[in-house]
Structure formats: C-alpha cells, structure tokens
C-alpha cells in the first residue's frame, strides 16, 4: 500500500512539475520559422568577429556617455562619437553580410548561424563568451567624462580590443575531430583550457589583462607587464 502511495506521489510530482527546459537563445521560434542556407555561411576567425563586436560596443558606450553628460563641451562631441559608433557597427554588419551570417530580410541570429555551420562541419558548437565588458566600458566612460577627444577615445577603444579569441571551440584540444570542410580550417583559434571552455567567473579580469589595462600582478601575469 505504501509503495502504491509513493508511486502515485512520484507520478503526481512528475506530472505537476516537469523539469524546466532551458530556452535555447540560439534558435528561438522566429529563427526556426525562416530558411537559412547553412552551406553558404563562411566561418571567419572568431577573434576578428569579437574585435568587431567589442569595437562597436565600446563606441556605443562612448557615444552614450557623451549623450548623458551635462557638460556642453562633452555633449559637443556627440556627433563625432555617434559617427564612430555608426562606422564600427557598419563594419561589423558588412562582415556579417559578407559571411552570410546576416540577411536584412531575415531576423538576426549571427552566433546561432555560425554555430549551425560549425556543427555541420565539425559536429560541435563554439562556446561564445557571454560578456558585457563592464570594466572596459567603465574605462571608456571615464575617458569621455575626462574630456578626451573623439580621436583619443577611438585610439583607446582600439587598444582595448581583445588580442586573442575570448570564445573557445571545445573540439580543438581533443583529437581526432573531423577536419573543417567549409573554409580550409581557419576557425577555432585561441582556445583556453583543456575542457575547451573557460572559467567564466574570471572573464572580466581576463578582458582587462588582455587589453593591457591595470598592469597589475596576477597569477598568470606575475610581472604585471
């Protein structure tokens, strides 16, 4: 009797509380409703893409900081900073367009489509690093507030771009993996860690190290170059 009761209780639990299914950011309902020609997609090195994204993100931060400023001298730079943001985003967009990761008539899902192609070619997805580069954005914001010229801000943004890929291809360290049949194997560079992933809690610190900010000693950079 007890066993039956336990069984009924377990069954009730299963029915009333099904495990939550994590939403797949890469393929929301809208993405599944459009046809994407995966074979046409070109996979360029992840570092190039990450640099382009970081550049427009930081340029947007500079423009937004100037927009929020109450200092007329800083607000006077809004047009130039907006132009820099527009140019940075236009570069990213044309990169996406050339790689067939973006088509204006279809909803945007560049990372999802990149992974779709990678999965088809190599059987795995790339682990894109989730970041909003808070420290770098804070640095740019302070630079804007200090009254730096748009040219100086642009140079600071270029100096802050990642020098090696922030994301990781989990397949690279473990051989054998099927060779890339799509673009001659130019992808999957700059992985960190044996597991193909990285300790995401340390991402912001690594951003700073990579960008050369801080110059403080760290376990991976004892000299604090």
């Amino acid at each position: 009797m007890k066993k039956i009761l336990l069984l009924v209780l377990l069954l009730g639990l299963v029915i009333s509380g099904p495990p939550a299914i994590a939403e797949d950011d890469e393929s929301p309902a809208l993405e599944n409703a459009v046809k994407v020609d995966v074979d046409d997609i070109k996979l360029r090195p992840a570092l190039e893409i990450e640099q382009a994204v970081m550049e427009y993100m930081l340029a947007f931060e500079a423009y937004n900081s100037a927009k929020k400023s109450k200092d007329p001298a800083i607000r006077g730079k809004i047009v130039q900073l907006m132009k820099q943001y527009r140019e940075a985003y236009a570069r990213f967009l044309s990169m996406m367009h050339a790689d067939k990761l973006y088509e204006p008539q279809k909803p945007q899902n560049p990372a999802g489509r990149y992974n779709k192609k990678l999965k088809k070619d190599k059987g795995n997805k790339r682990n894109w690093k989730p970041t909003a580069a808070k420290d770098l954005r804070e640095k740019i914001k302070k630079l804007v507030e200090s009254g730096a010229s748009p040219k100086e801000i642009k140079e600071a943004i270029h100096a802050s771009l990642p020098k090696s890929a922030m994301s990781a291809d989990p397949c690279d360290p473990c051989n054998p993996c099927p060779p890339n049949q799509g673009d001659g194997g130019s992808i999957g560079q700059g992985n960190v860690g044996k597991d193909g992933g990285r300790d995401r809690d340390r991402d912001e610190d690594e951003d700073r190290d990579r960008a050369g900010f801080g110059n403080r000693p760290s376990p991976r950079n004892p000299g604090g170059k």
Partner: protein
C-alpha cells in the same frame, strides 16, 4: 427658469451643429494631432520596452494592453537569436492606434548579460515604422514586416556603400546636385545641410 431651459434647449443643438462643422483646416489639424499622438505613444511604448530589457527581463514578452497617459499601446518583444557575446537579439515592436490612425514601430535591440545586476547594457537601432495594420503579436506578420523592412535596409545599405566609397568631393557634388529637386523651403538651407552631411560622411 422656463426661459433658461428653453434657451438651453435651442442653443445646445446649435452649438453641437457648429462644433461638427469644422473647416477642412481644422479637421486636418485634428487628424494630424491624432497621428502625432499615435506616434508619440508608440515611441513611449518602445522606450518602455527598452526599460524592460535594461531591467533584465528576458525572453518573449507580449503586452497587448499597456497605457501611456490616457492612450493605449501594445508592446511585443520577440527574441530573434544570439550575438557573439552571448547577448540576446530582439525585435522590439510597439503599436498604437488612435481612431483610424495606426502606427507600428519596429526596432532591433541587443540585450547583454547582467553584470551582475541591472541595468543591463541594451543597444537598440534600426528603427522602422509603418502605418499598415500589422498585428505585432503574430509571427507571420512580424516576418512580413521584417521582409518589407529588409528591402528598405538593402536600399539603405546601397546608400551607405556609396557614402563610404565616394570621396569627399564626389559626395559633396552628388548632394549639391539634389538641391534643384528639393522643395523651395529646404533649398534655401541646403548648402548648410550639405556641409554637415559631408562632415559626417561615413569613411572606411
């Protein structure tokens, strides 16, 4: 007392009739006002959507009956995919309808990951509007809007490519050549506008 009631009884229909007979200019002004209010409410709704994203509210959101002052708007935030920094990409759709005026605003927004607390970095761009009666909560309508908008974006890209690839002199002369085709009100200030456009020209 009877006289007052009699006066009201006569005057009310007269006042009502006069109020209905507006000049065409007045009616146009009322229509323009309604149109403007519909646009303003839609923009207000779009800003409310951005605030929701900045507040780290994630995933599909459909709010068909929101208020901005006395007017109503519908807000629909629909994920389209993922970006390379793990950000979620969205269509931000708002619709306001006042009498016969329909105004729909479509924008793209990217919502970055929290770091660790809100406000989250949100970048919105490519605002596009239509007065066609699209239903923003229907996927088919959204895809149709995207298609329409995409064609316009392709034309915009052509313009940007021209802007990027032409030299300052080429760009300036092309812009100056448009002066004769513009309305007289704009022609007078066009030289100044061209100077600003040339200053802000996209370069490589």
């Amino acid at each position: 007392m009877v006289m007052v009631i009699g006066l009201i009884a006569i005057m009310m229909p007269v006042i009502f009739m006069l109020s209905r007979i507006g000049g065409s200019q007045t009616q146009l002004a009322i229509k323009y006002h309604e149109n403007l209010v519909a646009e303003t409410v839609a923009f207000s709704g779009s800003n409310a959507g951005l605030s929701r994203l900045q507040g780290n509210i994630r995933g599909y959101q459909d709010l068909p009956d929101e208020s901005s002052g006395e007017e109503k708007y519908a807000l629909n935030i629909r994920p389209t995919g993922a970006g390379f920094f793990g950000q979620t990409l969205y269509f931000l759709l708002t619709n306001a309808k006042i009498k016969s005026h329909n105004y729909t605003l479509m924008a793209e927004a990217e919502q970055f990951k929290p770091e660790p607390t809100p406000p989250v970095l949100v970048i919105s761009r490519d605002y596009w509007n239509t007065v066609e009666p699209y239903e923003i909560s229907l996927m088919a309508d959204v895809l149709s809007m995207q298609n329409y908008r995409g064609m316009e974006l392709l034309r915009l890209e052509e313009t940007r490519t021209f802007e990027r690839q032409s030299t300052l002199d080429q760009y300036k002369s092309e812009m100056q050549a448009k002066k004769l085709r513009l309305p007289a009100e704009i022609q007078s200030g066009w030289d100044k506008i061209v100077t600003t456009l040339v200053d802000e020209k996209i370069s490589e």
